[in-house]
């Protein structure tokens, strides 16, 4: 019980750390989705042009 009183307050660092994880993961997934959509549209246009 007493030891709990002396645990350092580092909660802000933990929040910052997990924010980084969330931002990096969401950022990468978003980039994948955007590139996929762009590539799909481009393939369709190029296929149409070939016909």
């Amino acid at each position: 019980m007493l030891s709990r009183l002396f645990v350092p307050d580092t909660v802000n660092y933990m929040i910052a750390g997990y924010l980084v994880v969330v931002v990096m993961i969401i950022g990468y997934i978003s980039s994948l989705i955007l590139r996929w959509r762009k590539a799909t549209q481009k393939v369709e246009v190029l296929r149409m042009e070939q016909k």
Partner: protein, 230 residues
């Protein structure tokens, strides 16, 4: 091509659930470490993202070897996909380590062996992406990338063993720590469960992202081919 295969959709759900469960274990199950406080919880995803980074670099090296033997473009796409994803995860691990180090080591960054070798690995693979951008011919690009990924991978085990063979302040949580290490701790059972579950969750998540990125790579390859044909 545009519709997700059923297995990939299942993997999407599985990886999403596993990462959320891992986060739940980190926040609600793993105990608070007494010396460092809540920042120690960064450790679970720090190691998991670093592991996935190294795993992807290994996949890229293996894909490079297979490409040089078989010459199929799918192995070039796989290697490229693995490096791209791993760069993101490895950078995340480096940033998480820096955030953890600030309250524990009293510095954001120090040029000790693990941090230095990790930064070198990140730069080596960032250069891999630049190399790919610099070569127009797809076959030459794939061949150069394969060779680069194979030789680049030598930096990964050096990073892994650096804290085990050199004098460093970076803690070793599994195995014997160097006497100068600072910020180490002994894991109890809930910590071990959270740690290993996080590793498994991020491994599944990596496989899921890799599959998606390979599909994107195939589509981009098709665009390149259609442009050459037209």
């Amino acid at each position: 091509m545009t519709k997700n295969p059923l297995m990939l959709s299942i993997l999407d759900v599985l990886s999403g659930v596993m990462v959320l469960v891992a986060a739940g274990l980190v926040f609600f199950y793993a105990p608070v470490e007494a010396m460092m406080g809540l920042v120690q919880k960064v450790f679970y995803f720090h190691v998991a993202t670093a592991w996935v980074g190294m795993l992807g670099f290994m996949v890229a090296a293996i894909a490079g070897i297979v490409y040089l033997r078989k010459g199929s473009p799918i192995w070039d796409i796989t290697g490229y996909a693995a490096v791209e994803i791993s760069l993101i995860f490895f950078l995340t691990a480096i940033i998480l380590g820096s955030i953890w180090a600030r309250p524990v080591w009293n510095t954001w960054w120090t040029w000790e062996p693990r941090l230095t070798t990790a930064a070198i690995v990140e730069l080596i693979y960032a250069a891999y992406l630049l190399l790919r951008k610099g070569v127009d011919d797809p076959e030459r690009r794939a061949r150069f990338s394969a060779i680069y990924a194979i030789f680049g991978f030598f930096s990964v085990p050096i990073t892994f063993i650096s804290i085990r063979i050199l004098r460093t302040i970076h803690p070793i949580v599994i195995g014997n720590a160097e006497a100068a290490a600072s910020g180490g701790f002994n894991m109890d059972s809930p910590m071990k469960l959270t740690f290993f579950f996080s590793l498994a969750a991020f491994s599944v998540f990596f496989a899921d992202l890799l599959w998606h990125r390979i599909r994107l790579g195939k589509l981009q390859g098709e665009i390149e081919q259609l442009r050459i044909d037209s």
